[in-house]
Amino acid sequence: MQDESFPSDPGRRRLFLAVGAAGVATALPLLPAQAQQRAAPEQAYIFFNPAEATFIEAAVARLIPRDETGPGAVEAGVPNYIDKQLGGAWGAGERLYRSGPWQQGAPTQGYQLPFTPAELFRTAIRAVNQEHPGFAKLTPKEQDMFLDALHTSTKDLGGVPSNVFFESLLEVTIEGFFADPVYGGNRDMTPWKMIGFPGAYADFYEYVDKHNVAYTAPPTSLAQDANGRIHVHIELKRK
């Protein structure tokens, strides 16, 4: 079986390079000299291989597109969020009951597949990429039609019904757009600014009964210091 972590098709590989050069995050194995010549990639994926990253970046760009209301899911770092979630405890099935027997039930009974989220994404994206390796190169309209087909059918993607994959993808995309930026999405809190959500700030006692007030203070992250810097790496104070 072909190793999908680094596609052998030169055409596809060039696509990744092009995407990477455009500043959208993909992790590429670079030699040290090359790495010095180019700006460091904005982020490195810990879970997605390049083929998976290409699909995810293209798909979330259509689920929440950049438009006149502001940046979309890609600009907000949602692929990075999804990558970190799938590579971490949630992806491995945290808080998920995983004992068999396995059987599909009614929709009211909820998720009944044996896949962890990480397995589900990997399995479904592999099937999508095998069938439609050029998804990322389609026009936005064609991409939307493809995603809509995933949403509305139960087509088998390596054991994952396509609607289950689509709904999972949409769910994590919205999470990554609106979750605190400390999780790797919601870059610069722009999605919060777009809707007017103040984030982790938590004292509205003086405002709540001043009706119809336009609350315009910028949002805050739970990992933000007094100067507005968001700390992903905790700076330990040592004496």
Partner: protein, 588 residues
Amino acid sequence: MATRLKETDVVMLGVGLVGSIVGRELTKAGLEVVGLERGEPRYTVPDFQGPAMHDELRYSIRKSLMMDAAKETYTFRNSASQTALPMRRIQGFLPGTGLGGSAVHWNGQTYRFHDADFRMRTLATERYGKDFLGPEYTFQDWGVSYADLEPYYDRFEYLLGVSGKAGNLQGKKIPGGNVLEEPRSREYPTRPMKEPYGSAMFRKAAEGLGYHPFTQPSSNLSEPYTNPEGMTLNTCMFCGYCERYGCEHFAKASPQTVVLPVLLKDPKFKLRTGCQVQRINLDSLGRNATGVTYIDGQGREFEQPARLVVVGLFALNNVRMLLLSKIGAPYDPASGKGVVGRNYSYQTTSGVNVFYDENTNINPFMRSGASGTLIADFVSDNFDHAKLGFLGGGYIGEVMSHGRPIEFHPTPPGTPSWGSEWKKAVVRHYNHTAVVSTHGSSVSTRYNYLDLDPTYKDAWGQPLMRMTFDFPENDIKLSAFITERAAEIAKAMGGKQIAASPRKRPYTSTQYQSTHNTGGTIMGLDPSTSVLNRYCQSWDVPNVFVIGASCYPQNASYNPTGTVGALAYWAADAIINKYIRSPGPLMS
């Protein structure tokens, strides 16, 4: 091989709201109490502090404070003809775990039920006739009246410091309060909460339609308060992180803020966390409990002998504990016989979104868990059901509790679920939408019940509990009626568009609706139709008391926690003043 520990007077299963109150009452009465809690110890400081607590992903979406489905969950089906499957993620409701239980992450909506709820079979028969609903409906009297519980509601509300305004003080109606409530012996401990904008628009619209709006009684406090235990609570800051979160401000009444610190200082109380109770042990005749067997966090098995066992777990787990312990006859829906697991009920909720223009700033994030304004005109039997063909009722209110955007991003009907149109609609409507909620009763039927699953097991190898539930026809009619009334008010609230969603079948376990899971160990006056007598004492094993929403023979219009607290004081009183003086059945 279990290690046998020294006998104690009382073993308390679960140290949440019930465990904390009953533990406090029994230790005050001089009894030695061991409290077994399956989850972690946790306290306002350091565990609930901001800004880390203001994390929607961790607490709302991943449900960090709640029962871990990887270890323990429930199986579910809509009807007995289906195969129940495990809720692999718990989405439909929020079972608590850990010290303080679900009263750590509740919203704080604190109500009293009506006499028509406690004596539903008797009073509905008097008013509407014996056969108003069909024979499949198994609602019944609780064995207690509102008058019985009033002093205990009072104690509970003064423990929590509930913010509100009386509308019926010893029979005297007081405008501005809930004039349709049952009489209360004294005013609320603290004044009502501030009123958010959407709630104010609801109040005006409801008044215009001739209804009686009032401020929601709240256990997030409007002002500082020191309770009879000497615990001081602070003013709620309207942070918008309430249900699913612990309160950093000491402003939400929870076991940690109202009683636990006092209880934990009492040498007569021993708290053990990380202890998974496997079963209540019975003597050879099955008539007396000898204690419990539990497994600690290291996997070691212990037997804790006790003279009295008090079960105060999450409602569904109370039922499971009796089934695992073989206390009481399990309910059989085919014959209608048996009692444990019978009369599982829920809550019938719905919503109406009111979409405003862009100049109307609802500011949904400036909320408290229990702020808001509602009407009780359609609660319980406050209105005539004769021509409506259903029983029960519900409140209608603008009682939004947050504006956290992963969970809350309303869009008008017809909006796609993704893409640029979806995004534009979210941006357009997020801060300009109010939600009118309905919160309705749930009648018990012969078909909705709880039992042990034949297939699926928990991490300790014990059968999961199986839930068989769908909304009864009565409650679908109720929701249609009450959602129409809510829509009329919503239309009068000055929005550009409204969207009403009455509750429909089938019940789905995948959508959060309510954590008000009730019944299964119901109280009553007849051992053939109830598990517990009117003092929450097992008919079969009199040294076992079970307290919680599992005691409700059917669920009422209002949120259930006020009644759980009242029952905790009521049962504790019966244990201290009746049972301890003369151990044995308190009713025959």
